[in-house]
């Protein structure tokens, strides 16, 4: 019989390897290059003692500032759902913020993002990949390769797998996963395909309140991303 290492050596070796990988010192955070990935703005850790303090608004300037921006969302948090960004410390914590309150000033990019989330089929949470300067946005086919916190594999979403919207110069892709990074690729669409359609613009804002007068152009929907059936759906309510 060929001699070999014994398990009493192997098992501690594997534990040592796991401990080394798990407990290794965090590497210094390098500055993220302009446009290479979503800009992540750290927030101070808020650990309120006593009554809850209002959360600071999440900086979603990357929606208008950066070429590629990834924003996380959760439709069941808060009263209207919340959006957030990954914390910069690399520990996968998402800083949620109730930026969707209509009293806060909303930039045009954020309104499109809210409407895109509402127009998607994502039930609970996910992320929106915003790509500025997307040439021929509505007449292109878009695909995404992404790394997510929900699965260790890299995922490839073909054009037919994606929910995408085009604004004037921005592509918004709504993913059902929390993306850490994403690479977006473009090809010309095939308009000879009888099932082909232009990529639509985000839908108009919706209002869950049944008494809301949709015929009044002066009234603005509440701009939430929460599901209107949340109160009547026991599965969503207890999720």
């Amino acid at each position: 019989m060929k001699p070999g290492p014994r398990p009493c050596i192997i098992v501690p070796l594997l534990f040592f390897l796991g401990h080394t990988l798990l407990c290794a010192q965090e590497p210094p955070i390098e500055p993220i290059p302009e446009g290479a990935l979503a800009k992540i703005t750290p927030e101070p850790d808020v650990t309120p003692a006593g009554p809850a303090e209002p959360k600071p608004p999440t900086d979603v300037e990357c929606l208008t500032r950066d070429i590629l921006c990834i924003v996380q969302f959760h439709r069941l948090l808060g009263t209207k759902g919340e959006i957030g960004l990954f914390n910069k410390d690399g520990k996968n914590k998402i800083n949620w913020s109730p930026d969707l309150d209509p009293m806060l000033p909303l930039e045009a990019g954020l309104i499109d993002l809210i409407n895109a989330i509402n127009g998607s089929k994502v039930l609970v949470s996910g992320s929106v990949v915003s790509l500025k300067g997307a040439n021929n946005c509505a007449t292109s086919s878009w695909s995404v390769v992404t790394q997510t916190v929900d699965l260790s594999n890299n995922l490839f979403y073909a054009p037919s797998d994606l929910t995408a919207f085009c604004t004037k110069d921005t592509l918004l892709i709504v993913l059902p996963v929390h993306a850490i990074w994403a690479s977006v690729y473009r090809t010309d669409a095939n308009p000879s395909d009888p099932t082909w359609k232009r990529i639509p613009a985000p839908p108009a804002g919706h209002e869950c309140n049944s008494t809301f007068d949709i015929s009044d152009p002066k009234k603005v929907p509440s701009r939430g991303i929460s599901s209107c059936s949340l109160s009547s759906n026991p599965v969503l309510r207890f999720a």
């Binding site: 192997i10 798990l22 390769v145 916190v149 699965l151 260790s152 037919s160 473009r186």
Partner: protein, 377 residues
């Protein structure tokens, strides 16, 4: 919050297999589940597979499961380094400066290190010796841990029909490269170690008790007489088997394997039938593993001849054990029919732990069900 959008993490695969040389059509199915989520600096996951066959003799009825933890070294960027289209080798943050314009010509993803641990519940193969049909090998239970390192290399070559002419603002036409499939060719070298213990194991040769009368071709070297082996002792290696001797051998308690291999994938989108079959690519997968066993482990191969101690007739010796090398290769072609259904054809050769049952040249044709959002290597 309980519900997470991890639908892409669940993968159900059902296969209907056709074996042309068999007397009866086989129908096997298996279910594979892999669920993982980010934890700490990596991803913790649960992997499970169950295999079943409607024919009792082919029913592996095996369940393997394991907890995994995967870490990518420096995974802040999609690529650790790359050779872009017009540039020399650059590091990760410079690999995608223009985003969606082009994938790099050659990109190296971050190194993946996976630690895995879990039970191996070995399948129950039928004893094919004369007079023993219907007698199944007892199942074994092993606990195995392993560590594997993988380095995915993504290649997106320049293919002429991936260029398209675009009219610029000045009215001139210019050819630009497109990426209908961002990663067309992937090569992933794999290295690893596996070690563990046998919790429950059956004696090799039981319950039949076989006498070796001839040896497999690779074991045809003159055997040396075993010194301390006997009817109930540890089995000698194949090169030490002695014709005419009865063997019923216990298995070593230790398990240690060194693993090396390569995974490769070629993806090709539908060019002509895209309107009918969608934009998911045809995928040709190749996988090869070589395992070097430090301790003897069972094998199941009906090419070994022996004499049945009960019938005194020359018969096959389907089971034995040895150390040495065990290889396994698989080629799979996937034809996506829709986002949820794929036509799957595969060819396999070699053997895999825990039973190391030699599959010969196994050809399978089946259907696979999966989720949208295919996994990229």
């Amino acid at each position: 919050m309980g519900i997470q959008p991890a639908d892409a993490a669940w993968r159900f695969t059902g296969t209907i297999s056709l074996a042309p040389s068999a007397s009866a059509t086989k129908a096997t199915w298996d279910v594979q589940i892999y669920e993982s989520t980010r934890w700490g600096r990596g991803w913790v996951g649960l992997q499970a597979m169950y295999e079943h066959d409607r024919k009792l003799a082919d029913d592996l009825n095996s369940l393997t499961a394991g907890l995994t933890y995967l870490i990518r070294v420096k995974d802040k960027y999609p690529f650790w380094g790359c050779w872009a289209e017009k540039d020399a080798f650059v590091r990760g943050k410079n690999c995608n400066p223009q985003h969606y314009v082009n994938p790099p010509l050659v990109g190296i993803r971050p190194l993946e290190v996976m630690v895995r641990g879990g039970p191996e519940w070995s399948p129950s193969a039928e004893n094919t010796a004369t007079g023993t049909q219907g007698i199944y090998m007892p199942k074994d239970l092993n606990l195995v841990m392993g560590a594997t390192a993988r380095l995915p290399i993504i290649i997106s070559p320049w293919i002429p029909w991936h260029y398209t002419s675009v009219r610029k603002d000045d009215g001139k036409w210019q050819k630009t490269r497109q990426a209908p499939q961002p990663s067309q060719f992937t090569v992933v070298p794999v290295f690893g170690l596996e070690g563990g213990l046998r919790v429950d194991s059956h004696p090799i040769g039981a319950p039949v008790g076989l006498v070796v009368v001839s040896l497999a071709p690779e074991c045809s070297s003159p055997p040396s007489p075993p010194s301390s082996t006997g009817p109930t002792g540890l089995c000698p290696s194949h090169s030490q088997l002695v014709p005419g001797r009865l063997y019923t051998c216990t298995q070593p308690q230790e398990i240690f394997r060194q693993v090396a291999g390569v995974d490769a994938s070629l993806r090709w989108p539908y060019n002509i039938t895209k309107s009918f079959l969608g934009d998911r690519p045809i995928t040709l997968d190749f996988s090869y593993r070589m395992r070097w066993l430090s301790y003897a482990e069972p094998f199941y191969d009906d090419t070994y001849a022996a004499t049945n101690s009960k019938t005194s007739k020359t018969d096959t010796l389907p089971e034995g054990q040895s150390s040495g090398e065990r290889s396994y290769a698989r080629i799979t072609i996937l034809f996506p029919i829709s986002a949820y259904l794929q036509l799957r054809t595969s060819w396999q050769r070699g053997s895999l732990p825990p039973l190391f049952q030699n599959v010969g040249n196994l050809f399978k044709l089946g259907l696979a069900f999966s989720n949208p959002g295919s996994s990229e290597h």
